[in-house]
């Protein structure tokens, strides 16, 4: 077992180290997910329900493989989703995640996506909705190796703060050693739109219902890419939003 990380490590800069310490001795090693060449995998990660919920994955996509991962992070004290993804030639990686919390929860999504060969794509979309004194973070590093030309990566990070005490951190990071690459990233932090709230009220929605509906709209697009009719994560997200709206 390695030593407990400290906040001096960039990837743990916003972590709740005390909460992490409570699970550290028993923390399982990262789950290894390997997707063979030309294969496709969809995974949906729901919260465990524990108040400290740390999930770690090491993912490798071989040439031409594709992965769609969907994650909901709602632990009441500390939720952390850690991903280390390696993309071989032409692989396609898509990751959609939501941090939804209130109270004193700390929720974070920490990713490293390595484009080690040409023509792979990665799309990461993270939405955080934070109430109370919650802290929601996205730390995402995209590393493009020498020779990984034709890389196409995108990081879209948006947060909605429902209370003055809530905090959002967004840190997309690029490390590029190839010439012909396209790496886009954008981050915004905002509040619920007053015009939208008034419009909903004028149609008869009570304030809590209006907030919940607008937040659902903010987060809901994340689950549009789910193949099949598994709506479990959408329902769980709706319940989490209603609890803090």
């Amino acid at each position: 077992m390695t030593a407990l990380p400290t906040r001096k490590l960039e990837a743990f800069r916003y972590a709740d180290i005390d909460a992490l310490a409570s699970v550290w001795p028993s923390l399982a090693p990262p789950v290894r997910v390997e997707i063979a060449a030309q294969q496709k995998l969809q995974q949906i990660w729901l919260p465990s329900g524990d108040d400290v919920d740390v999930r770690r994955f090491d993912v490798v996509l071989e040439a031409g493989a594709s992965a769609n991962f969907f994650a909901l992070n709602t632990a009441s004290r500390f939720g952390r989703i850690e991903l280390d993804v390696t993309l071989h030639e032409g692989a396609e990686f898509e990751f959609d995640a939501a941090n939804i919390g209130g109270g004193n929860s700390t929720l974070e999504v920490v990713t490293t996506v390595r484009h080690v060969e040409p023509n792979a794509t990665s799309r990461q979309t993270v939405r955080s909705v934070l109430a109370g004194k919650a802290i929601g973070s996205y730390l995402g590093k995209v590393a493009v190796s020498r020779g990984a030309d034709g890389t196409d990566s995108e990081q879209s990070v948006k947060a909605m703060l429902l209370a003055r005490g809530a905090t959002a951190n967004a840190k997309p990071e690029l490390e590029i050693y190839a010439d012909d690459v396209k790496c886009a990233h954008g981050a915004t932090v905002g509040e619920l739109d007053r015009e939208q709230l008034f419009y909903a009220a004028a149609r008869g929605l009570d304030p809590a219902g209006a907030r919940a509906l607008l937040l659902e709209g903010f987060v809901g697009g994340l689950w549009d890419g789910i193949e099949g009719d598994d709506r479990g994560i959408a329902d769980a997200a709706r319940v989490a939003l209603k609890a803090i709206a």
Binding site: R194, F198, A201, R203, G204, L205, D206, G217
Partner: protein
Amino acid sequence: MLKIENLHATVAGKAILNGLTLTVPAGEIHAIMGPNGAGKSTLAYVLGGRPGYEVTEGSVTFDGRDLFAMEPHERAAAGMFLGFQYPVEIPGVSYLQFLRESLNSQKRAKGDAEFSGAEFIKLAKTQAATLGMDAEMLKRPVNVGFSGGEKKRAEMVQMGIMDPKLAILDETDSGLDIDALKAVGHGINEIMRAPEKSVLLITHYQRLLDYVRPDRVHVLSRGKIVRSGGPELAMELEREGYAEVAA
């Protein structure tokens, strides 16, 4: 139905309404016309309860109740519909979901049974057909990617679904081509021309009044009603301009 007495209101500390008095009885359609800056939209927003619009004096009763004692969503549940000059876009929320949740919120407030999904879709389709709107559009996010005319038609579809007692329509005719104008006029007549319903039609131009015949026309200038008359007053305004009539 609607009784406004000596209404004064400010926006960001600036006086916009300066003693407006107006009564709209049940079964009547009243038009409020006036030049830009007269306070037309402010009146609509004050009646709707938009935050930032402060009432400093006067009273408004709606169906015998003190309007200002009600929150905006309570006014809707009590039967008031506010048609927006600039309908708001809500990405990520479909029209069907938005309207069903709004209507059911009104029903809960009144202690009525809520609509099921199937019942609501039937109602929405019927109302869309009345306004000549493709019901498929209601599956799209609220007003996102709608043209100006489509947004106004959608406002009228919403009005049909909500079936209000009182509609306050703020420049519903602005930005409409002639077909959309006809459709909107037809919608207002179809949905709101009834003995127990009233409409306050706020407009800059006379042309909507070719399709919706008002019982009374009022001229608003500098935050007050300066003249009232029958439908012929609208024609006079069109002919002679506001400067003449409101002077």
